[in-house]
């Protein structure tokens, strides 16, 4: 590998990097087009616009307009059937400028090489994920989120793999690999292995979840670090949001990861040349692939970059939790079909108390309507909320969501007025339905996004198992609220901060919690993340059923 061993080339790259150090207002589209063309690429642009459902206060954007620039390096004698993508997002300010510089340097270097068999697409996307979403939708000509974009005019066939770059400084101490994508999808494990292998080869420090690997596995501290890393991965995966620009590729069955440069106060620094060599190595390996990456695992958790826990190990843990629900359901079924001890006076009771369909249907329908309200109202009524209350749009959405959520708790008292058959059998049937519902729901969730399913199972299964109308009301109500999805999210925020070794006070945690809710809703509208509708339309109504059972009369 001779990347940048040539002094001229290195000088060119350094010039480029220093030039990009100057703050840029907006994306320099013309300059990028010209620079890419000068490097012998076929350059195309795509403009897009998107109005967010409500302002994103974290990134300070509401009406987004931007342009993606991408250059295609056509592989010699290749029929345009396969492509690899290297992307770097370019945003106002010098947030990610080094990545764009490195991308251009690599493009120039790769252009003179003869070994490429797949087209290489160098993509500079504006407005990070929104730009990426526009580009991917344009490339595959789909429109899942109602974004406006201009059609693409250059393509390289089916994309086999993609890497996104995030570099803030021209030297880094370590490289962090980000794997978690939209809806908790992960790329093939071989992509992580590839990165790890090249980091080892070039002796670059590499991390996952920002945690360095330790060699002392058998010691307590080593073990606890591995657990922390894995818990971080679980938390990130459960959030269902793309944790890097790569996250949106996974929907299109494109193996992708983000490589993030981290510059801490360590002494050993790695320069851009080494990162370039690392990327060159990775791209040459990906270029040599005959098939898509498919040999390794798609479902895994990583306690460190060189170790993984496969689906075969973690799924039984979830299975055991789910078995509780099934056993409880079996128990309820047996109770329902076994006739009670024969008492003359009770016979009439049984005949009367055979619960009708209505007594189950009404709680089910009401709780689901609450779910629909939770899903629809926050975004629909933000304008009205802004008019009547002194809050911003984002606050209005989040507070409406919390209000609807809380209002749902008041419902059980209402449902019984219409179903007068609030009997012993009635709550059993309802609980049987609710328990089976929860089991199916969690099972499906865990298959798609294990972490989310597991966290929900951890909190909801105990509640589902113990709740009856006969347990102490106040204590149980407190436990039920404590373990409800919203509180789970709140604890997750604190837990995540703790794992990140950045603990927050309760005040900051609450603000963070509100912003997490707004981000979750935005993720759904912008990228099609499924966590918000899942919680609002299915998990929350299911939890309401148990709430209903607790207050059964």
């Amino acid at each position: 590998m001779g990347l940048l061993s040539d002094p001229n080339r290195r000088r060119a790259l350094i010039n480029l990097l220093t030039r990009l150090n100057a703050p840029i207002c907006g994306m320099p589209v013309d300059w990028l087009v010209k620079t890419m063309q000068a490097r012998g690429l076929e350059v195309f642009t795509q403009s897009f616009s998107r109005t967010l459902p409500f302002p994103d206060e974290n990134k300070e954007r509401y009406m987004v307009k931007g342009t993606n620039v991408y250059g295609i390096l056509r592989a010699p004698r290749a029929p345009r059937t396969e492509a690899l993508v290297l992307s770097a997002s370019c945003s106002p300010g010098d947030e990610n400028n080094q990545a764009v510089g490195l991308l251009l340097g690599l493009a120039q270097y790769f252009r003179n090489q003869i070994y490429f068999a797949k087209d290489l697409i160098f993509l500079v996307n504006e407005h990070d994920l929104i730009g990426m979403q526009a580009w991917l939708e344009g490339y595959h000509h789909t429109n899942t989120t109602g974004m406006d974009w201009t059609p693409l005019h250059g393509r390289g066939g089916s994309i086999q793999a993609a890497l996104s770059l995030e570099l803030n400084s021209h030297v880094v101490t370590s490289l962090d690999l980000v794997l978690e994508g939209l809806n908790g999808q992960l790329p093939n494990l071989d992509l992580a292995n590839l990165f790890y292998a090249f980091c080892q080869k070039l002796s670059v420090l590499c991390t996952i979840e920002g945690k360095l690997q330790r060699n002392d596995w058998d010691s307590v501290s080593g073990y606890s670090q591995a657990v922390q890393t894995m818990m971080l991965m679980v938390m990130k995966q459960a959030s269902g949001r793309p944790w890097g620009d790569h996250g949106l590729f996974l929907r299109y069955h494109i193996e992708a990861a983000t490589i993030k440069g981290i510059n801490s106060f360590r002494q050993d620094k790695t320069d851009a040349t080494t990162i370039g060599r690392l990327l060159e190595g990775m791209y040459r390996k990906l270029n040599n692939l005959l098939e898509r990456l498919h040999q390794s695992y798609f479902f895994y958790l990583m306690p460190s970059l060189s170790n993984f826990v496969s689906i075969g190990y973690y799924m039984p843990a979830f299975g055991l939790l789910a078995v509780i629900l099934l056993l409880r359901a079996l128990d309820l079924w047996v109770q329902l079909v076994t006739p009670p001890p024969r008492n003359e006076e009770r016979v009439n009771d049984i005949a009367q108390s055979c619960p009708g369909v209505l007594s189950i249907l009404i709680p089910l329908v009401i709780s689901h309507l609450t779910g629909v309200a939770l899903y629809m109202l926050p975004v629909r009524f933000q304008e009205m909320a802004v008019e009547h209350f002194p809050v911003s749009e984002t606050e209005a959405v989040v507070l409406t969501a919390i209000a609807v959520y809380t209002a749902g708790l008041a419902l059980p008292h209402n449902t019984h007025r219409y179903s007068s058959e609030g009997t012993e059998q009635g709550w059993r049937v309802l609980k049987l339905v609710a328990v089976l519902y929860l089991a199916v729901l969690l099972g499906c969730t865990a298959l798609i996004n294990f972490s989310l399913g597991f966290i929900l199972a951890l909190t909801l299964v105990p509640v589902a198992a113990f709740v009856t109308p006969h347990v102490p009301k106040v204590l149980s109500a407190f436990a039920l609220v404590f373990l409800s999805p919203a509180c789970t999210l709140l604890f997750s925020v604190f837990f995540y901060q703790e794992l990140q070794e950045m603990p927050v006070s309760f005040q900051d945690g609450w603000i963070l919690y509100l912003s997490v809710i707004s981000q979750g809703i935005l993720d759904h509208y912008l990228y099609g993340s499924l966590v918000y509708p899942l919680i609002a339309l299915l998990v929350y109504p299911c939890w309401l059923l148990f709430w209903n059972i607790l207050f059964w009369k």
């Binding site: 012998g40 076929e42 056509r74 010699p76 004698r77 290749a78 029929p79 345009r80 059937t81 396969e82 252009r111 003179n112 090489q113 003869i114 595959h140 000509h141 789909t142 005019h153 393509r155 066939g157 089916s158 929907r251 299109y252 069955h253 005959l290 098939e291 898509r292 498919h294 040999q295």
Partner: protein
């Protein structure tokens, strides 16, 4: 032999060196050696005088020589036709007519991207009839292997191409002869053939052996019979598409093993002539490589009383500025092919190199050395091009060093390419492994003329096309095709065939979309690398594109006024075939890994074992009383 040579000297040469020609005309019966000597004797004086002339004179001369000689695709054909109709024909008839003839030429065109395009054409003409005479056994220049193929399989026309890479129309303009990535074969059979499919299959297998390619994978699942897109290019008026077969193998990888048998078909092999340049280590260090063989019957003379067979071997290659040229815009024969030329093929009647100097009329873009006085003009693909010509049959071409290394050195890199009037692209839209959508985009970049195109799509059966979802839109409006021929696929038997005639409005993009469903294959039908995906061959777009020359009303070319009022027919439009890129489509693929196999095997064993055990346990066995025979029944 000498007479034959003289008779076929092309007119441009006649115009250029009149003095030389007069010598050869008068001495037409002298042996070859003396003819050469005479040419060599008289030529230096000619070039000297050329060198002495001023630039103005050169310009004047250039205008004098500006005669339309040929169109590159049918260049030699035009030459031969003109030759035959020219007055020398009378002289020629007195001598015995040549049975066969060989011509070779190389066209080099600098591309605006900085890359360079080299196109070889070798043409062998043989006046014989494979069909009438029972056995043709004496072969001269025509390769015997192909001659036997023609007579055995009653082939009327055969076109085969092997291409590695995709022609980048937007960067490079139109190629002289286009071909899709991979292998393409289309054959017209004689109408005497009864079992066309059987013959086609056998022919593909034979060609597979001749060209060392996997053409044996051509079977009924990738063969179609286009009704309109592929018409015979040679003489003959049979256009019944029952005798036409067309197949592409987009996955075919073309390399030296295909080049070697192709080179062996040449009369001189690689020993002499232009074929010396065909060294695989350079040809396959390029951006695009394509080799083809076209066999067709052509007219012997303008009256078309007798037919002769034409074998045209073409090889197109594009060298990359950055990879092959080290980023410097300086090209020479040696840099491209790592060889120089020392002689023409002795068997060739003409042997020429054409350098496209259209963008360089005054030599301000690049300088060409050694300089040549010969210029030629031709209307190629609707565009009038000027070429510098090096005639390899003239010793003087090789100069004192006895070797020719044409060198082009650029002074500036300015200049814009005209956007190609027609180009197309294709892609698969959608995600997931259940459905998808094929989008074909056809661009008409003509400012004010619309023209019709024929689109041919052949899609394998495992993409189940929903033809009711077919939409053709241009400029946001529905564009109804005037002709649609659709043949549905049959699983595992034949592919979809979709042909349609679409009118492309001026300056527009026409989008053709069809939805499809991905079929689940049987487990033995997957390739050894199922996760690579499955290929769908290129769409073929055939069209008569309005010529740029015909639009050029404000022509600065000094042409007689009587010829410029009405645009003449041959220039008003030209035929172009554009191929889109092939598609790579992923089908739902089972996990073929070890655990999967173990699960499958275990499940089968368990199912069989459990099933038979359960059967044994639950069945009640009874002894059935033998029923009394029919005879005893009352």
């Amino acid at each position: 032999m000498a007479a034959h040579r003289c008779g076929f000297l092309p007119p441009l040469f006649i115009l250029c060196a009149l003095s030389v020609l007069t010598v050869t005309w008068t001495q037409e019966t002298i042996p070859l050696g003396s003819h050469r000597a005479a040419a060599a004797d008289s030529k230096p004086t000619d070039t000297k005088s050329v060198a002495q002339t001023t630039e103005q004179l050169a310009v004047e001369q250039r205008q004098w020589e500006a005669t339309e000689v040929e169109e590159a695709t049918s260049a030699a054909a035009a030459v031969s036709k003109q030759d035959n109709s020219s007055p020398e024909d009378v002289v020629q008839t007195s001598t015995p007519k040549p049975k066969d003839e060989f011509q070779e030429e190389l066209v080099v065109r600098p591309l605006h991207s900085g890359d360079i395009y080299a196109s070889f054409q070798f043409r062998t003409l043989w006046q014989t009839d494979f069909t009438r005479e029972r056995k043709v056994s004496h072969y001269g220049l025509f390769p015997k292997s192909l001659g036997q193929v023609i007579s055995k399989f009653s082939v009327r026309e055969l076109h085969i191409s092997f291409t590695q890479g995709y022609w980048r129309t937007m960067q490079w303009g139109q190629p002289f002869l286009s071909s899709p990535p991979g292998a393409e074969l289309w054959v017209w059979f004689q109408d005497t053939v009864t079992d066309v499919d059987g013959t086609w299959k056998e022919l593909a297998n034979v060609l597979s052996g001749i060209f060392c390619a996997s053409l044996n994978f051509i079977d009924s699942t990738n063969t179609v019979q286009p009704t309109a897109s592929f018409k015979p290019l040679g003489i003959g008026n049979v256009t019944d598409h029952r005798f036409l077969r067309y197949a592409t193998l987009p996955r075919e990888i073309v390399c030296t093993e295909n080049l070697t048998p192709w080179k062996k078909l040449l009369p001189c092999g690689t020993k002499a002539g232009l074929a010396v340049l065909l060294k695989s280590e350079k040809l396959f260090h390029s951006s695009f490589y394509s080799q083809a063989v076209h066999i067709r019957p052509v007219c012997q003379d303008w009256q078309c009383k007798t037919a002769s067979w034409e074998l045209r071997q073409t090889l197109n290659v594009v060298f990359d500025l950055h990879n092959s040229g080290q980023g410097k815009r300086e090209w020479s024969l040696f840099k491209m092919f790592s060889r120089t030329l020392t002689e023409a093929c002795p068997l060739a009647s003409t042997s020429k190199i054409y350098i496209d100097v259209t963008d360089n009329p005054e030599g301000e873009q690049f300088e060409l050395s050694p300089a040549t006085a010969l210029l030629s003009q031709a209307v190629v693909l609707g565009d009038r091009r000027t070429f510098s010509v090096y005639d390899l049959t003239q010793q003087i071409t090789f100069g004192t060093v006895r070797s020719l290394n044409v060198l082009m050195r650029w002074k500036s890199s300015e200049g814009d390419m005209l956007r190609p009037l027609l180009h197309a692209e294709r892609y698969v839209a959608g995600y997931g492994l259940q459905t998808g959508e094929i989008h074909t985009l056809m661009y008409n970049n003509h400012p004010y003329r619309s023209f019709p195109v024929l689109l041919l799509d052949s899609v394998p059966w495992y993409l189940r096309m929903y033809i009711h979802t077919l939409t053709v839109t241009s400029k946001g409006k529905d564009n109804k095709p005037s002709y649609i021929h659709y043949q549905p696929s049959k699983d595992r038997v034949r592919p979809h065939l979709l042909e349609m005639l679409v009118q492309l409005p001026p300056n527009s993009v026409t989008e053709v979309t069809v939805e499809f469903e991905r079929a689940l294959l049987k487990w033995t039908e997957y390739t050894p690398d199922p996760n690579h995906g499955f290929y769908v061959g290129s769409s073929v777009i055939s069209s008569l594109v309005p010529s740029l020359v015909a639009l050029d009303t404000n022509s600065t070319w000094q042409r007689p006024l009587f010829s410029t009022f009405f645009p003449c027919k041959e220039e008003s439009s030209y035929f172009v075939r554009v191929y889109t890129e092939p598609l790579l489509v992923n089908l739902p693929t089972p996990d073929f890994s070890m655990p999967y196999n173990v699960i499958c095997l275990t499940c089968t064993v368990v199912a069989v074992g459990y099933g038979s055990l359960y059967n044994l346990l639950t069945r009640t066995f009874q002894i059935e009383e033998p029923s009394p025979g029919l005879a005893k029944r009352p």
